[in-house]
Amino acid sequence: MTITDISQRKRFLAQGNVYLPHIAVIERIIDETPGIRTFHFNFKDERLRGEFTFESGQFGEFSVFGVGEAPFCISSSPTRQDHLGFTVQRVGRVTNALHRLAVGAEIGFRGPYGNGFPINNLEGKNLVFVAGGIGLAPLRSLVWNVIDNRAKYRNVDIIYGARSPADLCFKYDLDSWQKDKTVNLFTTVDKGDDKWKGKVGFVPQVLEGVAPSADGAVAVVCGPPIMIRFTFPVLEKLGFTPEQMLTTLEKRMKCGIGKCGRCNIGNIYVCRDGPVFSYAQIMNLVSSEY
C-alpha cells in the first residue's frame, strides 16, 4: 500500500495552528432516529464559507467547548454547499453533548481530514452502494455527489438497511431516491412492524438477491463491522474483486492528522491514510485489528 502523499491533498487550515478549530454555528437539527441526529452547520467566518472545500468521505474533528472533540464524517455533499452536515449517534460524552445543543449553538470544527472516496476512479462505473444504519452518513454524501453529476456514472444501485423502520436514517433521502428513476433503491429492515411494507432481511442477503453485476462496477460499503464482514463475501460471490470493493474504517481518533497514535492498524493511520480503503488494501494490512 502506498501512503497517500498528504502534501498533495487540499489542506484547509494548512497554515497556522492545525489544532485550532473554526467556530461554526448549528443551523438546523434533524432527528433521524431516536438516537441519531443530523446537524447542519456553517462557519461564522463569512470568508471560510466561500473557501471551504472537502471531498465525500472526508471527516472533521467536531468539538463542544468544555466537553471535547470527536471525529465525524461530513454527511452533506460537496455538490450542495448551501450547508454542511454531520450525523451523530448518541453514544458517548461528546455525542451526548452534541445532542443537547440547540439551533444557534456554536461548535468547533477542524478539517477536512482523511482521503475521501476516490471519486475520479468511480466515473464511468456501475456503482453499488451498500449501507447499514448510520453508515449511510458518509455514503449519502457520495450518493448526492453522483446524482448531481449523474451523466458521469452508469448504473446506480443503493442497498440500505437498518434494524427496524424506526432506525432508518435519512428517510427524506430515501424518499427522493425512491422517486428518482436514475437510481435503484432497495431499502430493507432486519425486523418490520405493522406499517412496514418493504423488504425484511439483512443487508448482505438483500444484496445477494439484488445481485448487481460486478462487470465495470465498484461497490462502496459502509455500516457496522458485522454488516461489512458479511457483505464482502457476498460481493466476492457476485464476482467483485477486492479492488472493486471500498469501505470506510472507524477508529478512535484525537488529532485527525496522524500524530496522536491511536487509530493505527499496523503502520497505517486511519485518520491520515483512510478512512476510505479498498478491501484489497485492508487484506494487505500488517494487522487484522480493523
Binding site: 492545525v18 491511536r262 503502520n267
Partner: protein, 347 residues
Amino acid sequence: MAGSKKIKKQDLARLLSQWSQEFSLFVPSRTSGPAEMTEYDGQDTSFLGWYRNTIIPPKASFLPHMEEMFSFHRNKQGHQLELPPSDEQKRLIFAIRPCDARALTILDNVFEDAYQDPYYRGRRRRAILVGLGCTNPYDSCFCTSVGGGPSETTGVDIMLTDIGDELVARGITKAGEELIARSNLARATKADQKRAEQSQEAARQKVTRKVDTRDMASRLQAVFDDRDYWQQLAAKCLSCGICTLLCPTCYCFDINDEGSPEKGTRCRSLDSCAFPDYTKMPMENPRDEKWRRVRNRLCHKYEFYPMLFDTIACTGCGRCIRLCPVNWDIAQILEGVPELSQAEGPK
C-alpha cells in the same frame, strides 16, 4: 576535527551562567524527585557527580506531559479562542545523552511532517542540544544494538566527552560550532583529544547488552498473528504505561477539554498505547486485550515506525527496562523473537 575545545569542570558553572544569559538552560536535576532536565539555577553543577541519565526523558522539554493548546471563553459575540503566549524561549539542553538526542530526531519525523505541530515545533526549532557522551552506561542500556552509541552525535549540536577534570567539546552542527566559538573556551590539546577518544572507546565497551535487531521487522511480522506467543509475552504486564510515558521516542497524546462551555482550556497530555481506553470506542475496542497492546508497542517501535521512516523508534536508552515494575525487559523480548527460517528469508 575542526578545533575541539575543552571546559574545566570547575569552570562549568561560569560557562552555564554565561549560556543562560542567551538561552533557557536546562540541566540534569533531581531536586524535584525523579531526575529530569530542569532550568539551571545559576550554580549547581553537582549533576556531574551523579548523572547517568534522567528518569524523565528530555522530550518533556518539547512535548510536556500536559500543556494548554488554547483557551476559550464565551461572550456576547460567541466563543473566543486564544492561543497561549507563543513559546519563544531558546532552549539549551545541557548534557543530554546521545540516546535522548537521537530520540528527538525520531519525534521530529512525526511532529514536523506535512501537518506541522506548532507547539512541538516552536520549542524544538530554536533549541540547542549539548550532548554529554556516556562514561558509565547502565546494564540495561543497549544503544549500540539499535544504531546508536554512548558518544553518537545524531541530533546534538555540540558533543562533550568527559576526560576526568575536563570536558572536551566538539561542534557538530553550525549552530554548535558558533556557540563554541563565542564561548571563549580553551583549545583541546592533541593529548586531550586522545583521552576523549579513549574515553569514548571505553564507554562503548561498557555497553555490554547486545540485541540482534537484524531483520527484526520481518521477524515480528512472522510471529504477528501468533496469539499464544503474545499472550505469553504480555502475561506479566500491568498496563501501567510507564514504559511509554517515560520513553524518549513515544509521542502518543490525548486531547481533552477542561472547564465549562463558558470558559476553559483545551489541553494535550501524554497518552499510552498500554492503556485500554486509548483505542476504546463506544461500541468496540480493537485493542481491548492486553497482548494486543503489548504487541502494538513493540511492533510500532521495531516494525511499523521503521516502515514509515526507515529507522527503529527505539534508541536503547533502557528506561523501560529499568523502570518497569514487573521487569518486562524489551531487550530480552527482542532477543527472543524467533529468527527467520531459511524459507521465510528477510522481506
